[in-house]
Subunit: 548 residues, 2 copies
């Protein structure tokens, strides 16, 4: 018989969890599932933080990732950067408080957004090896090292063995951790691939990877120009919800609602204030913003949507850049052909700006490497040959859950000369940049399937596809001409003899004349292969019919 | 020129976020994305909590869900249950502290695990309408009502207008909230489908849905027996990690490690302690468990893995039950055929018990309803006709990310008589039960793709598939015989005439004799359709070749 419980008995055990405890129990949500994936997640978190920090200091990133195998499924990972360093009074929370960071309150595009990553690594080190992480850091004012552990129950850092480093050197941070239940593997989902793709999307960074074998792989920077630093911007009137509006208003220094609006929002002018007045007579623009009620705020937000606004400011977005992508693709994939586009920025959810860059590489190293080795229990998804990035960070997992995959797979590739997407030597590159990338989970491995974002990715990839299609049809036209040329040439000798017999003309003369005529025709074609596109296309479809 | 920042400048803005703030910014991670999905998420969270509470009190659940449209994309949702009620001193945290609850510390199977759901609803009400939720509750000791809001910055409840209710009545809880950015829609991902599936997997519950039109739909209970209450169990030695081991040991009351092991773990006997001693001589079983070091604990956990253990206790698992599933499927899908299996419990990650129930329904209402209406921007995934459940809770979203989908789609359906899975009137039902279901995200809409779980689902569904295959081959055999019978009968008259002319026998006599012979043969077949399976199968394949 099941005992029944009263409300008091049930609630006797009522407790609160820390967010660290939650993610300890659900570490798969942060990307810690499977040995190979877990190691990639660690490297991803540290490298992402390093790149953000170095760029914020305005220098070209030099990152070093050093991985050593120290036991069965047990490794140390060290990541060093030449960033501005971390003030010692903040270092504990950076590495051992989940949801702490410098990045929440600024409306600016960065790789990290959530303040989970580095603390998640410390959590994973603690639950798999019981060890703290070791951090060395140097700012312009101090240089120190220490051990940092996380108190899971309270989500608070435990900083131990803090020591000042006397020897000099440049600014920067190095973190080393020991992790079990991880594995280094040269697969599509492994660290090597992750670093390679990071180099692809950050051509201004130099990244050194020391593999467990001791082999040192250096991805040298291919451009020496720093990417344009994204500016923190004001929110766009179409990108605000009522809750945020009320919060901003209540914190306002302005005495009048109208002044608050102009001060707090981008694209807000006195002209627009007048329009607001016209749209909704119930809004008191002289009211005190710090006392605005929910329903008044709702009225304002609703009125925002009835007015035409200039597009959001785009200074908030930092793209990789067409030229940089081309250089990086050339260096890493060495394709026979590529085409890259950067679309104009768009918005999703009404007012959050984002921009899509896309590229197609064909031939050379392009195309999927089949992942034969990943048999360690980590779930390896078929990803096609789609290189996904968000804010320049490679996304290696959860492909099936991602707007980029959905957009790319939805394209009718036959139209672009790709008969079977999975089998041809083609790589699709997509980078989605935004102040706020809507990830589908806290592990940040997939872009949520927002309709506006999917559509924009489709358009970007199809732009590239059209250029690819012209290239492929040119290549195929050439191939067709070449094979015809050879076929015809094969008959020239016999034909000349037969014609000679019939006509009495010298067969050598006939042969020379025929050859010269044929060569003239085909040389012209080889020099300008696109010219016969239309006729070729017709013939190709005839061929298909004949074969069918 | 980009301004460069020093470490101090960067960390000037260092802040901590509450978990409520995190989920406010990332509400899509909790299932709040798209209007239809958001409404389903709200109903899901409240109904799940209600079912857990009512069952814990040991009574048959009576749940009422009442949805009213009060404006454009704006609804009220009320959910009432006949549970034990919530003590007033806990009610604030239940509805307005993310990660608070009664369910964390018990090793027992329940629908809710995380303490996010109901607080997530309050959060969503706050950010879309600025309103608190209203709660009425009655325990055996008190009855009251109040408004509950959430302070997002601190993740703390704000309880207002607390009032004692004087009128009598039975125990239970009602929560009402007002939500915007939601939509009621009769689609595969809507509330109606969610409730229908909840009724399917909880045949002991009576659930009433009042739709916004005022139409009342009652899903009456189809069984009156309460499901076996799952027991809280001790962890299995193979299901513990070092971190948990250290935590448990440090909290132990035992003076010796050996006593702690027997007390804390299931399947641990003095015989097993002796085996442990044999396996690892470095373990001091007389040591004080509260002082165990990480490396000692690591040694013990490693030794656990070298010993043979009895399977985990299964009292922790509460399944729906084969008979109950059959009754529910009959009531709701009215199929022409069904087959249901409950597999034996298995473990994943070495020692976490789980059990899979599966069913196949064919014909009747089985099969996918195509979702024509969901054009509101919510992303609707093609889900096939797979009804996914975890701990009896329907999973309507994130199908592509789910172990159940992966397992079902991986099956070669042709072998089981299903030529095209997407187009036949077939529904697959899968319920995964565990103390700890590894969800792939905090929205709990997909089971993480653990290899052990995928394999077990495959086996369960294939078990059902084999029975379906026999049924379908019987049906098809019958159809084939019938069509042959009709064809032959069509020629009997002419044949009799011709034979009569040739032989001089009366054609009527011949016709009667032929008909009787044919009927005899086919009647026998119709009575025992499986008998000719083999020959039919041969002929079918011949037919296919002839058609090809």
């Amino acid at each position: 018989m099941a005992a029944t419980l009263s409300a008091d008995e049930i609630f006797h055990e009522f407790k609160e969890h820390s967010i660290a405890e939650f993610f300890r129990k659900n570490s798969q949500m942060l990307g810690y599932s499977g040995k190979v994936r877990s190691l990639t997640t660690i490297v991803h978190e540290y490298v992402t933080n390093s790149l953000d920090a170095v760029e914020e200091a305005g220098v070209l990133p030099d990152i070093r990732v050093d991985i050593k195998e120290i036991g069965e499924s047990r490794y140390t990972v060290c990541v060093s950067d030449n960033g501005p360093g971390i003030p010692s009074k903040h270092v504990g929370k950076v590495f051992a408080t989940v949801l702490a960071g410098t990045k929440f309150h600024r409306y600016v595009q960065q790789r990290g957004q959530q303040g989970i990553g580095a603390a998640g690594c410390t959590l994973f080190s603690r639950i798999t090896t019981g060890k703290p992480v070791h951090v060395k850091s140097a700012t312009s004012k101090e240089r120190y090292e220490c051990d940092i552990d996380i108190d899971i129950k309270s989500n608070k850092p435990l900083v131990k063995n803090m020591a000042t480093i006397l020897a000099g050197g440049v600014a920067g941070t190095t973190v080393c951790g020991e992790f079990a239940e991880v594995k280094y593997e040269n697969s599509d989902h492994g660290v090597y691939e992750y670093i390679k793709r990071t180099a692809l999307s950050n051509p201004h960074a130099s990244i050194t990877l020391v593999e467990p074998t001791g082999k040192e792989v250096v991805f040298l920077r291919s451009v020496t120009e720093l990417p344009k630093r994204p500016k923190a911007i004001k929110p766009h009137p179409l990108g605000i919800d009522v809750n945020d509006f009320v919060e901003f208003a209540h914190r306002s220094q302005s005495r009048k609602l109208s002044a608050f609006l102009v001060e707090a929002f981008s694209r807000m002018t006195s002209g627009k204030i007048a329009e607001l007045k016209d749209v909704s007579h119930d809004i008191d623009l002289d009211a005190d913003p710090t006392k605005i009620t929910w329903s008044d705020a709702e009225r304002v937000v609703k009125a925002f949507k009835q007015i035409k606004w200039m597009a959001p400011e785009l200074d908030s977005l930092s793209t990789i850049g067409e030229k940089q992508i081309e250089i990086a693709i050339k260096n890493i994939l060495a394709p026979k052909f590529m085409s890259v586009v950067e679309r104009k920025p768009k918005v999703f959810r009404g007012g959050i700006p984002f921009v899509v860059e896309a590229g197609i590489a064909y031939g050379g190293e392009s195309g999927k490497k089949v992942d034969e080795n990943a048999k360690d229990g980590s779930v390896v998804e078929a990803e096609g040959n789609v290189l996904r990035f968000a804010n320049k960070v490679p996304l290696l997992f959860d492909a099936s859950n991602c707007a980029i995959t959905e957009a790319v797979k939805g394209i009718q590739w036959k139209r672009y000369g790709i008969a079977n997407f999975e089998e041809e030597p083609v790589s699709i590159f997509v980078n989605v940049s935004s102040v706020y990338v809507p990830y589908s989970g806290p592990g940040k491995q997939a872009v949520a399937k927002e309709d506006d974002i999917i559509e924009e990715i489709r358009l970007a990839v199809m732009d590239c596809g059209r250029i690819l299609q012209r290239y492929l049809s040119g290549v195929r036209s050439l191939q067709l001409q070449e094979s015809r040329y050879k076929t015809i040439m094969r008959y020239v000798e016999q034909l000349s003899k037969d014609l000679g017999e019939i006509t009495g003309v010298d067969s050598k003369t006939l042969e020379a004349s025929l050859k010269s005529t044929i060569e003239k025709k085909y040389n012209k074609l080889f020099a300008d292969p696109e010219k016969e596109d239309a006729s070729i296309a017709e013939e190709e479809s005839e061929t298909e019919e004949a074969e069918g």
